[in-house]
Every structure is written in structure tokens, then in C-alpha cells.
């Protein structure tokens, strides 16, 4: 059993703080995705789990053991690198079996394990080749195979799919997901791609500037983002944000702004006082074409995808928003249109970017 426990984990290079105190627990068998924009510290955090980076402060536990001072090889982890990190002069067979060879595993057991890994990853026919003779997807398979044979308690993936093309990425994503179900091991996966995060994760950890923004299941993050950053990062296309002014009324909260005509929504508004400038968030898919909608604007771009129509709209106040409408929407560039929304779909954020409880 190997869960992980981060307690106040810090990392700094000289005076630069990269990880600013991470507290997180990961249960055994969980698939956890670290996601965030580049430079947010997600890879550093993963490398600290692997033991490739020192932990400046705080405590990291794998299983029952504090591993701050434990060598990478003794942590029971396997890692798949973005660059695959295959040994170029060794055959696929030797690459996969390298760790076993270092551990002096008997040859017959080693052979059996290598072939088993190759079978799981459907690369038995590649075993004699050198990495240079493989395509990107095949190399990634070998790298994963190398991780599997060692039967680690924790798998670490550092942006493993970012060097692959879109179609292959989708295939590999599904394979990794299947692999997780088959092996039942704990997996930590780093990506900057929120689609990968949403599709793979049991639990997503959103990081920004070395700080954990929110931890939760994909749908939790999608429906209940705790702050502006998470709201903007999770979901595609991005959530739209409008600046509005709030007014407390008997019915709840009345909000209005340059882009939005006066709208009253049911909310306790306990955190808001009249006159506060707040941010309103609305996902593209929550836009509804309606003649009496409270948002008015001019269509600037229409992308028809068949199943849906993505339109860019310049609202009355000059803010540009993206709406995802039905596939058979008749909007054309230059049309003036009105949009409405279900009030319960709105997200409200205070001046500090924190979600306002409804």
C-alpha cells in the first residue's frame, strides 16, 4: 500500500521559491493529475516525489516512510519522462529490462517480466529494435514498459504525451487509463493540458505559481471552482469573465455592468455589500440564444463544428466572450444577438478572485 502525503512541502532555488508549501494526501491506487500553466511548479513537485529534486522544507511520505532523504532508487517509484529517456544504444528489450538487470534479477524471471510488459503494451514485435527505429508513440510505450516491469508502488508521468500528435495522444491517454485500472497502482501525472487532466484523473491538483489552487475530482473543479484561476483553467473553451457591480436587494443580488443588463439572482449575498465590484463567470456552454437575454452583442466570428457552433461575441461593454451554441445555430458574422443564461449557472468571484458562496 503506497499512498503519499505532502506536509508543508517547499522548494526554493536560492532565493526563488518554486513550491510554496504544498499539503496534499494521495490515497493508494488513486490517479492524481497535477495540472497548471508552465512554470507553476508541477514538474518540480513530481521530481521531488521521484527524488530528483531535494525538498527544501516540509515532509514527504510514501507509504509509511518519510522519503526526504531516501535515494530515488529506494523510493519504489518509476517515472516516465517527457523525452522518454530511452537508452539509445540498447534494444527495446534491454531498455525495458534495464532496471531488473541492475537489480540482478535472474535472467529467466527478467525475460518473463519483459515479455509480460511487452504483451500488456502490445509491443512484442518491437523488442529487438533500437529506440531510434521507433516512432514517438512506440517510444512512449517502451518508456511505460520500462516503468511497468519494475512493479513500482507509484508511477510518475511527466507530461508523457506532449511530444505526440493529437490522435496518438488520445490513444495513449486511453491506454494509460486502462493501465491504471489493470495495475491498480498509484499514479501521479503531470500535464499542462486540462483535457488530459479531466479525462484521466480521479483527483486533480491545480497548481499556480507554486501554490495549490484547488484539489478535487474533475467535475468538482468544473462545477465548483474555488477561485478565478481554477475557473479559467478548467473547461474548454475557457469560462468568460465579466466585470459587474453588485447591489443587495430583497430578492437576492442584483448585478449589472457595461456588458450585462440588470439581472437579479437568488443568492444570500452575505459576503457582498452593495456597490462591490465583482466578477461574473459564465461558461460558453451555458449561453442560450434568446430574444430577451440580458447579454447583447455583435457576432465577430463563427466556427461551425457540426455538433456545436462556437461564436465570438463582442458585448455592449466591449468585452469579448465565447459562446458554444447548438450545431444548427443560424448566427452569422455581423449579426446582433441576445443571449441569456440560467442564473444558477453563474459563478461569482470577489475582488480577490475567490468564489462567492451563493
Amino acid at each position: 500500500m503506497a499512498g503519499l502525503e505532502f506536509k508543508g512541502v517547499h522548494k526554493s532555488y536560492g532565493k526563488v521559491d518554486v513550491i510554496k508549501g504544498v499539503d496534499l494526501s494521495i490515497a493508494h491506487g488513486e490517479f492524481v493529475v497535477f495540472v497548471g500553466p508552465s512554470g507553476c511548479g508541477k514538474s518540480t513537485l513530481l521530481r521531488m516525489v521521484a527524488g530528483l529534486e531535494d525538498i527544501t522544507a516540509g515532509e514527504l511520505t510514501i507509504g509509511e516512510r518519510v522519503v526526504n532523504q531516501v535515494q530515488p532508487r529506494d523510493r519504489g517509484v518509476a517515472m516516465v519522462f517527457q523525452s522518454y529517456a530511452l537508452y539509445p544504444h540498447m534494444s527495446v528489450y534491454d531498455n525495458v529490462g534495464f532496471g531488473l538487470r541492475l537489480k540482478k534479477t535472474p535472467k529467466d524471471i527478467r525475460d518473463q517480466k519483459i515479455r509480460e510488459a511487452a504483451r500488456i503494451l502490445q509491443m512484442e514485435h518491437l523488442l529487438d529494435r533500437k529506440p531510434a527505429q521507433l516512432s514517438g508513440g512506440q517510444r512512449q510505450r517502451v518508456a511505460i514498459g520500462r516503468a511497468i516491469v519494475r512493479q513500482p508502488e507509484v508511477f510518475l508521468f511527466d507530461e508523457p504525451l506532449s511530444n505526440l500528435d493529437a490522435a496518438l495522444r488520445m490513444d495513449m491517454r486511453m491506454e494509460i487509463s486502462k493501465l491504471h485500472q489493470e495495475l491498480g497502482a498509484t499514479m501521479i501525472y503531470v500535464t499542462h493540458d486540462q483535457v488530459e487532466a479531466m479525462t484521466l484523473a480521479d483527483k486533480i491538483v491545480v497548481l499556480n505559481a507554486g501554490v495549490v489552487q484547488q484539489v478535487g475530482s474533475p467535475l468538482e473543479l468544473y462545477h465548483h471552482p474555488e477561485n478565478l484561476f481554477v475557473a479559467g483553467f478548467i473547461g474548454s473553451p475557457k469560462m468568460n469573465f465579466l466585470k459587474v457591480t453588485a447591489e443587495k436587494t430583497d430578492a437576492g443580488l442584483t448585478i449589472a455592468g457595461a456588458d450585462l443588463e440588470e439581472t437579479t439572482i437568488a443568492a444570500s449575498g452575505s459576503q457582498v455589500s452593495t456597490g462591490d465590484r465583482i466578477t461574473l463567470g459564465l461558461r460558453p456552454h451555458d449561453f442560450i440564444e434568446s430574444a430577451d437575454g440580458r447579454l447583447r452583442g455583435v457576432v465577430e466570428l463563427v466556427e461551425r463544428l457540426g455538433n456545436e457552433t462556437i461564436v465570438n461575441v463582442r458585448l455592449a461593454g466591449g468585452t469579448q466572450v465565447i459562446a458554444a451554441l447548438d450545431g444548427d445555430s443560424h448566427l452569422e458574422v455581423g449579426h446582433e444577438a441576445r443571449f441569456g443564461f440560467a442564473p444558477e449557472k453563474l459563478h461569482l468571484f470577489d475582488a480577490d478572485g475567490q468564489t462567492i458562496a451563493r
Binding site: A50, L52, Q71, R73, V77, F81, A85, M90
Partner: protein, 364 residues
């Protein structure tokens, strides 16, 4: 409408002779100082050309090479008295006929005419003597081969060691890089002059140092004046002077190895030695080929050190092929002899380079 400037530029570039004109300076210089002399040396080596001579040059075929490479083996049987018993001297050693009775005007041994004793060993009661027609050349050849055989692995190995040590992120590592590289930028002639002081027999730095660390037990050695130490002294200095250059080449090879490979090896549990064995060394394969070939060729061209420090002496113990080629060609004005040595050297280096390339080739 086009302006005039680009048009002229274009027509100049398109002119058929433009390319040749641009290559001309390089071609002329290379022909004058590299290709020409090479072909001339090749031609001279089959003649009796001298630097200044009233006689016309004649083609002599392979005689220069025969003269240099001529070797013979002579088995001397001990002298026997009339009863057939071996004649022994006062200490009980058998007595042998003198070698010169075979090599001087002996009609029974025409192929040994003019040869001199090179080395020999005992074979039962018999004495085997290897003779050479050109002892100095043989000395130069064996010295050069020895020099190459020691310098190539030692210099390459030391350079790799230094490269591994300075390929670390440490404070002030650039100071070490600079220090190790410094001898390379100093002219070998200057280095040789300085090292003459270090090796000096009476008050040299090396003798003083050795005597200091052995509390005066060490007896000073005239490093460059002793036949047994002179070549080794030149060898050590040459390694010291050249090691920095090859260190830099190794270093560039080391830095092409992706860090992720080491990290993967770390996670898989490789020891530092295993990381070297399975990641570093295979990653340096091409660099190794380059370094070995370059060092071998540099070592074969051993000249300046000998010229400045020992002039081939003492007792020919530091003769080298290039030194002999220069010596014969210019000092003795025997251009043909010098050319023949150069041609042999060329063939030797070529053969070794091809062998090295073959042995270190990529196997699939």
C-alpha cells in the same frame, strides 16, 4: 522595376567562375603548402634527390625504403674447438664469432652487407642477433610507436577523467576548466623550454620536489640526460600539454548526453559506475573515436619537444620519425631520405586510423 544593385550582385553570383574565384585563395594555399609538398615527398622518396647537389637526380626505385627498413636475422653458433666442444671464456660463457665478420665484405652473406646489430637474445647455446641496415631509423620508429602506444590511452583516459570531474555544477568550476586548458594555448616550444628547467639534472624543479617530499632520500636524476628516462620525460610533458584540449572535446561529448538519461538511471537504481558504463560511455562512442584518431595522429608527429629538449639524444633514445625526417631532409640535406620517412609515416598513420575506425565502428 529592378534597381541596378541587386541585378549586378545576381549576375556576379551566377557567373560560372565566381565559385572558383571564391575558392581560389584556399585552393592556392592548400595546393602550395599541403597537396604539393605531399605529392613532391611521394615523388622524392623514389629518387636520390639531395638539397644541394651537383649530380642530376636519379630514380632509384624502392632503394630508400629498402635502406631504411632492411632487417636481417643472424643466428650465431658458438665457436668450437677441434674436438667439437664449445669454447668458453673465463666465466664459462660461450664465445661467438664477431657480427661484423658476417656484415663486412662477407660473400656468403650478401643480404647482411652493411647492417649493424640492433638487438639479440640467447637461444640455447646459440645467439640470435637481429640486424638493421638503418639503426637510427629503427630507433626512431620504435620510439615513436612506443610514444603513441602510451600517449594515446593515457592522454585520452586522463582527459576523460578531467572532463568527468569538471562536468559538474560546482562553484568556481570554471577556474579548473581554465587551469586545465591553459597548457594547450601555450606554444609547445615554450612549454618544452620551461619543462627543461623542471627536468634539469641538478637544480630542476622535479628533482627538488622529489627530494623535498622524500626528505632528501631521493637522488637527483638528469631526466633528459639519461637514455632510460629521457623519452618518458618527454612523454609525460606531452600528455600534460595536450590533455586539456582533449578534455574539452570529451566535455562537449558529455554535455550532449541528455540529463534525463541519468535521472532515469537514478530511479532505476544505477550506481555511479553503472551510470558511467551504461549511459556515459555509450553516449561518448563517437567522441572516443574522434579523440583516439586525433591523439594518435598528434603523437605520431612528435617533433618540437624532441627538437627543443634533446635533439634525439641521449644515445638516440628520443629519436622520433618526424625528427629524423627533418634531420635527414634539412640537416643532412638528404631530401629523398626525409621524404621516404614522411611517406612511411603517412602510410603508418593511415593504416592505424583505418584500423581504429574499423574497431570502433557502430555495430548493428
Amino acid at each position: 522595376m529592378d534597381t541596378m544593385t541587386p541585378k549586378t550582385a545576381k549576375s556576379l553570383q551566377n557567373h560560372p567562375t565566381a565559385g572558383w574565384l571564391m575558392m581560389a585563395p584556399a585552393i592556392i594555399l592548400l595546393t602550395l603548402f599541403l597537396i604539393g609538398p605531399f605529392l613532391l615527398a611521394f615523388g622524392f622518396s623514389f629518387t636520390n634527390q639531395r638539397l644541394i647537389s651537383p649530380n642530376p637526380t636519379q630514380i632509384v626505385g624502392l632503394r630508400n625504403f629498402e635502406q631504411m627498413l632492411g632487417v636481417g636475422v643472424l643466428t650465431l653458433e658458438p665457436e668450437r674447438d677441434n674436438s667439437g666442444a664449445v669454447v668458453r671464456d673465463d666465466e664459462g660463457r660461450p664465445e661467438y664469432p664477431r657480427v661484423r665478420t658476417f656484415t663486412r665484405n662477407n660473400p656468403d652473406y650478401p643480404h647482411l652487407e652493411g647492417m649493424r646489430e640492433w638487438f639479440g637474445w640467447s637461444w640455447g647455446d646459440n645467439q640470435v642477433v637481429v640486424l638493421a641496415r638503418d639503426l637510427v631509423f629503427m630507433k626512431a620508429l620504435t620510439n615513436t610507436l612506443m610514444f603513441v602506444a602510451v600517449v594515446a590511452p593515457v592522454q585520452a583516459g586522463l582527459a576523460l577523467l578531467l572532463a568527468l570531474m569538471i562536468n559538474q555544477k560546482l562553484r568556481g568550476i570554471n577556474i579548473f576548466r581554465t587551469v586545465y586548458f591553459m597548457p594547450v594555448v601555450v606554444s609547445i616550444v615554450v612549454v618544452s623550454l620551461l619543462w627543461r628547467f623542471i627536468y634539469d639534472g641538478r637544480n630542476g624543479l622535479l628533482n627538488n620536489l622529489l627530494s623535498f617530499i622524500s626528505f632528501g632520500q631521493f637522488r637527483p636524476v638528469d631526466w633528459l640526460g639519461e637514455p632510460s628516462t629521457a623519452l618518458w620525460a618527454i612523454l609525460a610533458m606531452s600528455v600534460w600539454q595536450g590533455v586539456g584540449f582533449h578534455m574539452v572535446i570529451w566535455l562537449s561529448g558529455l554535455q550532449t548526453i541528455p540529463v534525463a538519461l541519468y535521472e532515469a538511471a537514478d530511479i532505476e537504481g544505477a550506481t555511479p559506475w553503472q551510470k558511467f558504463r551504461f549511459v556515459t560511455w555509450p553516449g561518448l562512442r563517437n567522441t572516443a573515436v574522434l579523440i583516439l584518431v586525433v591523439i594518435t595522429m598528434q603523437a605520431f608527429s612528435l617533433f618540437a619537444q624532441v627538437d627543443v629538449m634533446t635533439q634525439g639524444g641521449p644515445l638516440d633514445s628520443t629519436q622520433s620519425l618526424v625528427f629524423q625526417a627533418v634531420q635527414r631532409g634539412y640537416e643532412q640535406q638528404n631530401i629523398a631520405g626525409g621524404s621516404a620517412i614522411s611517406v612511411l609515416l603517412f602510410l603508418l598513420v593511415l593504416a592505424i586510423s583505418i584500423t581504429q575506425r574499423y574497431l570502433t565502428r557502430e555495430r548493428n
